[in-house]
Symmetry: D3
Subunit: 242 residues, 6 copies
Amino acid sequence: MARMKRLDEMTSKEFAETVDGKTIVILPMGIIEEHGPHLPLCTDSLQAEHLAERLAQRFGALVLPPLRYGNSSSTIGFPGTISLSFDTIRALVKDIVSELVRNGVRKVMVLSSHAGSGHLCAIREAVKDVVIEADGRGIVVRGLVVSDYEVLYGLTDRGIDPRDGHAGDMETSRVMVLRPGLVKNRSQAKDSTKKIPDFLVIAHPEKEWTGIRGFPSKASKKKGQMLEDMAFEEISKLMRTL
Amino acid sequence: MARMKRLDEMTSKEFAETVDGKTIVILPMGIIEEHGPHLPLCTDSLQAEHLAERLAQRFGALVLPPLRYGNSSSTIGFPGTISLSFDTIRALVKDIVSELVRNGVRKVMVLSSHAGSGHLCAIREAVKDVVIEADGRGIVVRGLVVSDYEVLYGLTDRGIDPRDGHAGDMETSRVMVLRPGLVKNRSQAKDSTKKIPDFLVIAHPEKEWTGIRGFPSKASKKKGQMLEDMAFEEISKLMRTL
Amino acid sequence: MARMKRLDEMTSKEFAETVDGKTIVILPMGIIEEHGPHLPLCTDSLQAEHLAERLAQRFGALVLPPLRYGNSSSTIGFPGTISLSFDTIRALVKDIVSELVRNGVRKVMVLSSHAGSGHLCAIREAVKDVVIEADGRGIVVRGLVVSDYEVLYGLTDRGIDPRDGHAGDMETSRVMVLRPGLVKNRSQAKDSTKKIPDFLVIAHPEKEWTGIRGFPSKASKKKGQMLEDMAFEEISKLMRTL
Amino acid sequence: MARMKRLDEMTSKEFAETVDGKTIVILPMGIIEEHGPHLPLCTDSLQAEHLAERLAQRFGALVLPPLRYGNSSSTIGFPGTISLSFDTIRALVKDIVSELVRNGVRKVMVLSSHAGSGHLCAIREAVKDVVIEADGRGIVVRGLVVSDYEVLYGLTDRGIDPRDGHAGDMETSRVMVLRPGLVKNRSQAKDSTKKIPDFLVIAHPEKEWTGIRGFPSKASKKKGQMLEDMAFEEISKLMRTL
Amino acid sequence: MARMKRLDEMTSKEFAETVDGKTIVILPMGIIEEHGPHLPLCTDSLQAEHLAERLAQRFGALVLPPLRYGNSSSTIGFPGTISLSFDTIRALVKDIVSELVRNGVRKVMVLSSHAGSGHLCAIREAVKDVVIEADGRGIVVRGLVVSDYEVLYGLTDRGIDPRDGHAGDMETSRVMVLRPGLVKNRSQAKDSTKKIPDFLVIAHPEKEWTGIRGFPSKASKKKGQMLEDMAFEEISKLMRTL
Amino acid sequence: MARMKRLDEMTSKEFAETVDGKTIVILPMGIIEEHGPHLPLCTDSLQAEHLAERLAQRFGALVLPPLRYGNSSSTIGFPGTISLSFDTIRALVKDIVSELVRNGVRKVMVLSSHAGSGHLCAIREAVKDVVIEADGRGIVVRGLVVSDYEVLYGLTDRGIDPRDGHAGDMETSRVMVLRPGLVKNRSQAKDSTKKIPDFLVIAHPEKEWTGIRGFPSKASKKKGQMLEDMAFEEISKLMRTL
């Protein structure tokens, strides 16, 4: 198994000697966002960063410094949520991936544990723009923009409950593995299946749900480890298309 | 049952006398896009426009002039696709909905039969921006951004095959109902389940699939009518949240 | 005489077989805008769309789906006017013409019956941008951006009254031909020559005039047909420069 | 008659004591642009600046530092033309007028001797944006955006030849009055009525005409003075609407 | 002494209970950038992050997740430099600070060890925009945008050599304290005082210098600690103006 | 000594015959900005314009029409300051320099006597963008963006008092030379060393200082001439790097 390397802990010289068109570079992304009364604002970041490191190890990939800043619609009315605009996320990812390409990188994965649809769309638009611009100059770049939660939500045949999501059973379980000290007051984290009506666009989503979707009460370390392993294996498969 | 009205066939005076905060205004959207060798480039537009008219009739809503211009990633390499940028679609929808709000409208539905993820995201970002800006001025606007295909894809328990999509059984069936004269050379429309690898971002998606996803060979008028009726009923339910 | 074809009613295959550098593509544009108490908000769209179809027939051109969305300054204070920003109109036309060029089209006419100066300027800037960008890549594109009203206003030697304009004699006459059922309450449409002072820029133009400029009382079907024929012949001449 | 003052030759204290809601501020604009082999690149600037000073004197207005930078389409292929983009001109004028409004000014005239349609449209869009934004905050601003050439072209009943324009009889005559030393090689300035076909948008307008439209051979100082006087009187009338 | 807290390790509930108008929030910024053959690409990030934590501890401030992405001109031709555009940095900082303000924060410090002039200007413009917009809504926000290197460069009377800068004595010394394992091949890090000519703007700055300015050979852990202490004390003084 | 020429007083023909890759073009920039009760708002413009003309004469350079519009943060609360946004200044300079490059110019100096950090940064970003874009097309452009005050502030070893700046001894002295009639009420111009706290970003800088930094009471014509001569010689050295 290859050793994971943080891209920015290398010197310029090491970078020049190491990186070529076969190198996979991974950008882990999260967000600072309400996750119930019991999980930290960095919940998504913790998951993406840990998963990125495991995947980098398996694939001999380089990991970029994580971006703990993202875009969210549904939690914007809750304390502590820092939501960057669609355009800022897109510009940010576009510049980073562009600069990687300028440095000779041709395979990039953005891995975001935050799976907000605007957030992922901004990232995809950014990567697509870079890939198409590079193509116009005869450079073939392949990008993978994936959220472990998009992947997990698709695995209903393997026990994933489609009613569980933000700050629910899955996220609580995974943070219990990664940073148990940051899980607090679980008794205050009430299970809830209330959600914002589908397709509705309103100014105050925080009035339509509790900030938790699913079942934090069912969380366990064991489940957390299992979920991460599932995500790890599924994303490994996707990375082989790079 | 109320009578459907086209918003722009009214005079200024009729508009002033008719429209108030309870009026629902519907914007039908499609795209000019490859739909196999057998369906017209306006396939999505035909579906959205017809459905919008039926829904407007049921709800006494006003229908805006349709927008047959949209954004697509996956068909951009095929002849005849006209794909506007994300930003243009967003600006367009934002300006239209903004102007409706300036004119006193408070309930808007954008109905797009094209369900490209960037396309729908651009529309949602636009409507969200208007809703939030209005909220900042104390005006409550409710928006609904929905694709009949997002709705249909969710109905796997009612016989929808998740492998059928763009230019497949469902779309062929529906155009056979709406404009049978525009369905041509069905024998050339080969069934196919090949698709662009999940989450991959590449410059030439047209090399990864045939431009058809699913089973045009299975299409029938009867199925077309049934699908439209299903979409009509499901979207009617959503419209009650407006 | 060639047969008019709607571009988006073709299949991708037909498009590929039909369109080349000699094809003329016409984009008809209007606006949703106050036109007195007697004419519909879509007055400009009706005229552009009908004229585009006649011209397409004469020249064997393709007609794009019409855009009934435009930009206006002078009617923005009247009920029912939907005015998109300068930048949105420019982006919209730029993307559409760009995509045509990407698809091999080299001759494009935008025909707008709405002749607002900002509106036409936005369209011209858009087409110019595409033409110049294409030139930078060695591709020769020719564009024609024309309003039948700019053309008619220039024909004072053939009986056009320079005091007649928006919702006046000419527009009323033409809608009487195209959609007589949409002309209403003509007795309420008062003749007026009041206009916004030349070159003045103010926030409330609707306080400076009645929303009618000219003489709706003089309108007749006969005149309407004659005006359309004049515009048709004059624009035919312009199209020969493409 | 009031004394003309240059706004930026005052001190901050004088400005504070002098300027209020009744003050008219004039921004003279020109462009650096080919004007035949015989007139300087600053031809338009000379005219606007001199006229602005005379008008300021009559109305007790303040004159801003001139902007000798503008936007042009038709002369862009000739040596020495410096054409700023539409967006830059718009941003520039918008910022200047905005800042005047922030400083308490409520009446602004932009006087541009360059009458390119994109150029004037950019200025009008800018002033309109400021006027409408101010209106939203309850501040009434009135703007006048005028070109002496738009005014002169309208005076065909007073001897203006509609075939004379850029670098022709009128402009040559006026520069002969203002800066005779900058008029050179008049024998090389051939009369010409060749023009870019109406409404056509092409990449190389410099191939369609000579860079002169009209009759430089007919120019005279006397005519130059008469034209400026005509423009002076006509624009004085317009300024009374401010 | 207060305890340093990472803002995003709190829960939403803790955030709501902790943060008010007196809270100081610190955003540490660095860049991924060439720092000679001997220092890691994350050199600036290491310094900013450690200093931010010490300052947060002294002032009971909250530390945001660091941004290891910045803008650079002078190192852009060397391997491994990832330089985001001016506009992206500005948008990023603006959104983050805006969101803090929306959450009730009124005192923000951005601390960047990268002192590129465009980079710092982008941050200042961003913070200024937020501060002025907040002021327009009656909210008083105070921002501090500071680089420890701007501070140190000003201390020439305390032994700072004005010829030492990027990847020189000071930076080498400080990384030797913070992450000695990341300092490599010091023998290859040649002292150099060659620099890009003042005020010159060119496309290939990497041809004008070695990527080191100053004297890495003189570096020592002792000096590194002393420099950090100096920066710590000086920035503490500045923070008292917040 | 070469003769100074104003670029825009040439004809298109003269421009074509004169300008080539060796021509240096100088753009003088100032701002309309409070300069105490005693100096005119155009103080910075006067200095830049005069210096540009002297330098042009020495180097046979061409002088562009001056831009008396700039960006300022610190004087924005004082009457008469007209501050354009960062983006407008950047766009303006970028378009001008781009157009020079399109016309064959390869050496450009922007000389701004206003030395606001945002203002100079906007200019530098603009010139850098043009230089890098030109490089991408194989065209070598060299730019120099310099403020005589940045240069003078660096000459503390030659008697420049670091506490003197905006509207102080130096500026007063220089305007006394250039336009003595515009210096007024010197008795009201109080010496002051109060300044906005370093690195602080606030909404109302005008509350933190008097609008004068330094010692207007010490000004003299003799000093004014000496300062200009110093700036002239120092900038001459810099111009040799072009």
